[in-house]
C-alpha cells in the first residue's frame, strides 16, 4: 500500500466480496489482452518523501533563480516582491484543493473571490466586464481574436509588432484553427506602433486590431490614437496590457479599447519559469455574452442572503458544447486569487506609489546606462537600448552576478544589438548603478559614489 492509499488486505477482501469479484484482476476484464501493457511501467520504483525532496532540491539547485543574481530580465514576466500574505492565503487548502465551484452553496469563498477579482480587473482596465481568468497572456490574446471572429465574422487580424512575440505567435497558431489571417504592423523609429501603417493595414475585412500597453519594447503607446486609426473600418481594438503600470497609465477602456487582455504574473504571482500565472480578459458591456471562461455574478439565496454563482454559463462548453464561445474549462482560479489579494495589499494608493517608484527608477536607469535608446519615447518599467558588443556585456555582467536583460535579437532581427532592460521595485539604485558600471557608463559609475 502506498502512503497515499488506505486499502488494507482486510479492506480488499471485504470490498471484493461486496463487489462479487474474485480478484483485482477481474475488475479489468473489459480491457482486451491485446492492449494490456503486460509489464510494469518502465519507471524507477517509488521513493520516500525525504528522498524525493532531496532529488527535487538537487534539480532546483541547478537553476539560477532571481535571488541568485541581480536580474534585469522582464519581457513579459517580472521579478516583483510577492507579499507574504499572498502565500499564506493561497496555500490554505480551502482555496488550494477545491474544484471549479459547481456547487455554489459550498463554494462561496471561491465565488466571491472571482467576483472581487473581476471588479479589480475592471477597475484597472477601465472596462465594465471581466471574467474570472483565462490561462495566461498570449492565449488570452488569441481568445480575443476568436471573440472578434464570432462577433464580426471577418477574417483578418492586424497586430502591431509591439505585441509580445509570444502573443503574436499564439495568435497565429490559434487563428490557423479558426481560420483567420494575421497581418503585422511595424514599429516606428521611436519604438511605438506606426499609426499611419496601422491605418493602412486595416480594411473592411479586418476583425480586430491588436496593440500592447506598454509595448514589448517598454514604450507607452498612445492607445487612443491607435484606436482611432484601427477602428476606422469597424474592427475591434484589442489592447494587451501589463496590469501593474495601469496604476498610472490611462485605462485602455477609457480610450477606445473594446477588449483588454493580459498576463497577470506581475500581480502577486511567482515567476515559476513561466507558469502557472493567469490571464485576464475584460471587455465592453456588449460582449458580455461572448466572453470566454467563467464569470461570477452576485445574487441572493432563498433566505434573501447575498451570494455569488457562476453566471452566463450558456456561453460555456459544458452547456453549449460546439456552440460555446470558447472551449476553456479549467482556468487559473488560484493564480487569480493571488492577483486580487496582491491588489488588495497594494490598495488604491499603493498601486500608484509602486508604479511611480518603478517609473522613477526606470528613468534613472535609462540615463544611468548612457546607451543609445531604441525607444526614446515614454517608458514606465522597461526600456530598450543598443549595445555595441552584446556578447561581451553578457560575459562581464554574468561575471558580476548580473543578468542584464533580454536580447531583442531573439525575436527582432531589426534590433539585433538590442537589449531590453526591466526594472521592478526589487532593483535598487545600487543595482542599477552596478549594471551601469558593468556597461561601462561613466556617469552610471559617478552616481554610484552619490549613493554609496
Amino acid at each position: 500500500m502506498s502512503r497515499y492509499t488506505s486499502i488494507t488486505d482486510e479492506d480488499l477482501k471485504a470490498m471484493l466480496g461486496a463487489i462479487g469479484a474474485g480478484s483485482l484482476e477481474d475488475l479489468f476484464a473489459d480491457i482486451p489482452a491485446s492492449v494490456r501493457l503486460g509489464r510494469d511501467i518502465d519507471l524507477p520504483p517509488g521513493r520516500s518523501e525525504q528522498e524525493v525532496h532531496e532529488e527535487m532540491s538537487a534539480l532546483a539547485a541547478r537553476n539560477r533563480h532571481a535571488d541568485a543574481e541581480t536580474s534585469f530580465l522582464g519581457a513579459g514576466m517580472y521579478d516583483h516582491y510577492v507579499p507574504s500574505l499572498v502565500d499564506a492565503l493561497t496555500s490554505r487548502s480551502e482555496f488550494l484543493t477545491p474544484y471549479t465551484p459547481y456547487q455554489p452553496e459550498i463554494s462561496q469563498g471561491g465565488l466571491q473571490v472571482m467576483f472581487e477579482f473581476q471588479t479589480a480587473i475592471s477597475e484597472l482596465t477601465g472596462l465594465p466586464v471581466a471574467n474570472a481568468s483565462v490561462y495566461e497572456g498570449p492565449s488570452a490574446v488569441a481568445a480575443a481574436g476568436y471573440l472578434a471572429k464570432l462577433e464580426t465574422r471577418r477574417t483578418r487580424l492586424v497586430a502591431s509588432r509591439g505585441l509580445h512575440p509570444h502573443s503574436r505567435a499564439a495568435l497565429r497558431t490559434h487563428a490557423a484553427g479558426y481560420g483567420m489571417e494575421v497581418v503585422e504592423v511595424p514599429l516606428n523609429a521611436d519604438g511605438a506602433t506606426d499609426v499611419a501603417a496601422l491605418a493602412e493595414a486595416v480594411d473592411d475585412d479586418t476583425a480586430a486590431v491588436f496593440v500592447q500597453q506598454p509595448n514589448f519594447l517598454g514604450t507607452v503607446e498612445d492607445v487612443g490614437e491607435l484606436a482611432e486609426a484601427g477602428k476606422r473600418t469597424g474592427a475591434l481594438l484589442v489592447c494587451a496590457a501589463d496590469p501593474l503600470p495601469l496604476g498610472i497609465l490611462k485605462p485602455p477602456g477609457e480610450v477606445g479599447a473594446d477588449i483588454c487582455v493580459g498576463e497577470g504574473q506581475s500581480l502577486g504571482n511567482r515567476l515559476d519559469y513561466g507558469g502557472p500565472s493567469f490571464g485576464f480578459f475584460a471587455a465592453a458591456e456588449r460582449f458580455i455574452r461572448r466572453m470566454p471562461g467563467r464569470i461570477a455574478g452576485e445574487t441572493r439565496d432563498v433566505d434573501g442572503r447575498r451570494g455569488f454563482v457562476l453566471t452566463l454559463q450558456t456561453r460555456e462548453q459544458h452547456i453549449r458544447r460546439e456552440k460555446a464561445t470558447h472551449n476553456i474549462c479549467t482556468a487559473q482560479a488560484l493564480n487569480a486569487l493571488a492577483g486580487v489579494v496582491y491588489l488588495s495589499w497594494l490598495g488604491r494608493r499603493g498601486l500608484v506609489e509602486l508604479s511611480t517608484l518603478m517609473l522613477r527608477r526606470t528613468h534613472y536607469a535609462r540615463q544611468a546606462l548612457g546607451l543609445e535608446l531604441i525607444n526614446p519615447g515614454p517608458v514606465v518599467r522597461e526600456f530598450a537600448v543598443r549595445v555595441p558588443d552584446l556578447d561581451a556585456l553578457f560575459l562581464r555582467a554574468r561575471a558580476a552576478g548580473i543578468n542584464p536583460g533580454y536580447r531583442l535579437g531573439r525575436d527582432y532581427p531589426e534590433y539585433e544589438d538590442g537589449l531590453l532592460v526591466a526594472i521592478t521595485e526589487r532593483r535598487t539604485r545600487a543595482d542599477i548603478d552596478h549594471l551601469a558600471e558593468v556597461v561601462g557608463a561613466p556617469q552610471g559609475a559617478r552616481q554610484k559614489e552619490a549613493v554609496g
Partner: protein, 525 residues
C-alpha cells in the same frame, strides 16, 4: 428556538473587500525612493496618464487576512472530506508537492533565463516528458498546453497541420454523444464541424454508426477511454482501425487516464494523440478552478508539428554529462499555444508525484481507483438505493460510474439536484450531476484511490438515509441544503440581470459605501 438564537450571524450579509475600504487604510508600504523624484507628468504625456486612481480596496493587512481567511472557510475542500466529483479525479494532493514547487530554484526562476542557467528545470521537464511518454505509450511529448481543453485544441491543430502537410482538406471531427463539452467546443474553435457518434447498448461507441460516419472528410475521432460512463470500450482496436482506414487521427481525451496507468496504454490502443490532465491524474491541486496543465503525447507521424519550443537533450561530449536546451527551430511546428514553456510549477508537482509512486505505485493507484469505484457502485446497488438510483450501464466500471436519478425523481419526487443539495448537509461533496447528457438525471461518481473504505461507506450510508428521509418527506431534500453558508441561490436572476462587479461609490469613503459598512459594523464581519 428561533434561528437567530441558534446563530445570530446567520442573518448577516457577506461583504466584499472593496466594501471594507476606509479612505487612508493601507497594507502596503513602499520601499524607499532612492532615485530622483521625477513627477509622472514630466515624463509621460498627459494624454497617457490615468486621471483618477483605480478604486482598489483600502484595508490594513490584518483585515485583508481575515477577509480572505473567512471567505476560505466558506469553501468545501478536498482536505475536509470526500469529493467524488465524476471526471475530475479529486485525489489527495500531497503536501510535499507544495514544498518542492516553492523552492526558489523553481518558483523564482525567470522563464527567459538562459538554458545554461536553467538546466535543472529543463532536465525536470525532459524527465517528465519521458515518464508521460512511457505511461501513454507514445514516443513524443509536449508539455506546453495549459489544461485539458488546451491540449484538445493542440491535438486538433496538430491534426489539421498533419493533413495539410499531406495536402488533404478535412472538415469534420467525430465525437461520441457521451463526450465532454470541451470536445465539441474544441472542434469548433479548431475550425471543424462536429459530427456525433451514437453510443451502443453496452455504453461503448456504436460501431455501425461510426463506420457510416467515418468518411474521408473526417479529420479525427475524439474519444475518452474509459469513457465518461466509466466504461472501457472493448472495441477500441476495431474503432482504431476504422478511424485509421478513413485516414483520420484518433485522439485520446486523457481525463480518465487514472483508470489505466500501468495497465493499458493509449498508444497501444492505437491513439495518435493523447492529452493528460496533470491536475487530475497527477495531483496538481485544482485551486478552485485551476491552474492545471494539459501536456500531449503523440506518435511519430504527428511529431514534426509539435509546438515550439521543444525541450531537447544534447549528449555531452568528452565525458561531461548531457545538456538540455530549448529548440524553436521546427519548420513544420504549429507554433505556440501560449507564452514561455508552459505551467512549469505544475510540472514540478506532477514529477514529484511520479517519483514518489514509481511505476508500481502508479499501477496500484489505478487498481485501487477502480476497486474503490466498483465497491461504492456495489454499495449503491443495495436494495433501498438501487430502486431509485439504477446504474446507467450495468457493467464492471473502471475508476467511476454513472447512476440515473430517474427512479428517485419519479417515485419520490426528488431530483438528482435535490439529492446533491441534501448531500451537502452530510458533509460530502456531491457527484458530478446531469452529465453525461444521455443519462437521465445523471450522477457521475468518482471516488479515486486515496479514499478509505470508511469514506465510501459513509457516502453510501448518506445516500441511503437521504432516500429513506425522502420516502417520509421529500420536501426535506427539495429544500436542502440547510447547513451551508448560503442556501439555494437564484441563478436565473443572476443571469437575467448580471451583476459581475462591485458597484463603486464616487470615492471609497463615500456615504453609499459607508452605508454598507455600518451594515458591517452591525455584524457582517
Amino acid at each position: 428556538m428561533s434561528e437567530f438564537v441558534v446563530d445570530p450571524r446567520r442573518n448577516e450579509d457577506t461583504i466584499t473587500i472593496f466594501e471594507r475600504t476606509r479612505a487612508g487604510r493601507r497594507a502596503f508600504a513602499a520601499p524607499e525612493t532612492d532615485v530622483p523624484e521625477v513627477a509622472v507628468e514630466d515624463v509621460l504625456p498627459a494624454a497617457l496618464v490615468r486621471e483618477s486612481p483605480a478604486q482598489l480596496p483600502e484595508v490594513s493587512e490584518p483585515e485583508i487576512v481575515r477577509h480572505y481567511t473567512t471567505l476560505s472557510s466558506k469553501n468545501f475542500h478536498l482536505d475536509e472530506g470526500f469529493y467524488p466529483l465524476g471526471s475530475c479525479t479529486m485525489k489527495h494532493n500531497p503536501k510535499l508537492h507544495e514544498r518542492v514547487a516553492a523552492l526558489p530554484g523553481h518558483a523564482r526562476l525567470h522563464p527567459l533565463q538562459d538554458p545554461e542557467h536553467a538546466q535543472g528545470a529543463l532536465d525536470l521537464m525532459w524527465r517528465l516528458q519521458r515518464a508521460l511518454s512511457e505511461i501513454a505509450g507514445l514516443p513524443h511529448v509536449s508539455l506546453q498546453p495549459s489544461a485539458g481543453s488546451h491540449g484538445e485544441l493542440a491535438g486538433l491543430l496538430l491534426t489539421r497541420a498533419y493533413h495539410e502537410d499531406r495536402g488533404e482538406r478535412r472538415t469534420k471531427v467525430l465525437t461520441p454523444d457521451t463526450s465532454h463539452g470541451t470536445n465539441p467546443a474544441t472542434v469548433t474553435m479548431a475550425g471543424y464541424e462536429v459530427v456525433k457518434v451514437a453510443t451502443a447498448e453496452d455504453g461503448g461507441v456504436d460501431l455501425d454508426d461510426l463506420r457510416e460516419k467515418a468518411t474521408d472528410d473526417v479529420a479525427c475521432l475524439m474519444l475518452t477511454n474509459p469513457n465518461t460512463l466509466g466504461l472501457f470500450d472493448r472495441n477500441i482496436e476495431e474503432i482504431a482501425s476504422i478511424v485509421h482506414d478513413a485516414g483520420a487521427t484518433l485522439y485520446y481525451d486523457g481525463a480518465n487516464l487514472n483508470a489505466v496507468m500501468g495497465i493499458a496504454r493509449p498508444g497501444d490502443m492505437g491513439f495518435d494523440i493523447v492529452h493528460f490532465n496533470l491536475h487530475k491524474t497527477f495531483t496538481q491541486p485544482h485551486g478552485g478552478g485551476g491552474p492545471g496543465a494539459g501536456p500531449i503525447a503523440v506518435s511519430d507521424r504527428i511529431e514534426p508539428f509539435l509546438p515550439v519550443p521543444q525541450v531537447v537533450r544534447v549528449e555531452g561530449d568528452n565525458g561531461c554529462g548531457p545538456r538540455f536546451d530549448l529548440d524553436s527551430d521546427r519548420p513544420k511546428s504549429i507554433g505556440k499555444l501560449r507564452g514561455f514553456q508552459g505551467n512549469f510549477g505544475v510540472f514540478v508537482r506532477s514529477y514529484a508525484y511520479i517519483l514518489s509512486l514509481g511505476g508500481d505505485g502508479l499501477r496500484e493507484a489505478s487498481e485501487v481507483a477502480v476497486l474503490n469505484a466498483n465497491y461504492l457502485k456495489a454499495r449503491l446497488a443495495e436494495p433501498g438505493v438501487a430502486e431509485y438510483l439504477p446504474v446507467a450501464f450495468d457493467r464492471t466500471c473502471m475508476h467511476e460510474f454513472v447512476l440515473s436519478g430517474r427512479g428517485a425523481r419519479d417515485e419520490l419526487g426528488v431530483k438528482t439536484l435535490d439529492l446533491a443539495k441534501r448531500l451537502l448537509d452530510h458533509g460530502v461533496h456531491p457527484p458530478t450531476v446531469y452529465f453525461p447528457l444521455l443519462v437521465e438525471e445523471a450522477l457521475m461518481i468518482e471516488p479515486t484511490e486515496t479514499e478509505t473504505k470508511e469514506r465510501l461507506d459513509h457516502f453510501a450510508d448518506a445516500v441511503r438515509s437521504i432516500l429513506e428521509e425522502a420516502r417520509e418527506d421529500p420536501e426535506i431534500a427539495r429544500n436542502a441544503p440547510y447547513t451551508t453558508p448560503v442556501r439555494r441561490l437564484d441563478e436565473a436572476g443572476a443571469a437575467k440581470r448580471p451583476v459581475v462587479r462591485q458597484g463603486m461609490g464616487e470615492n471609497p469613503g463615500d456615504p453609499e459605501r459607508a452605508g454598507r459598512s455600518d451594515g458591517e459594523s452591525s455584524g457582517a464581519l
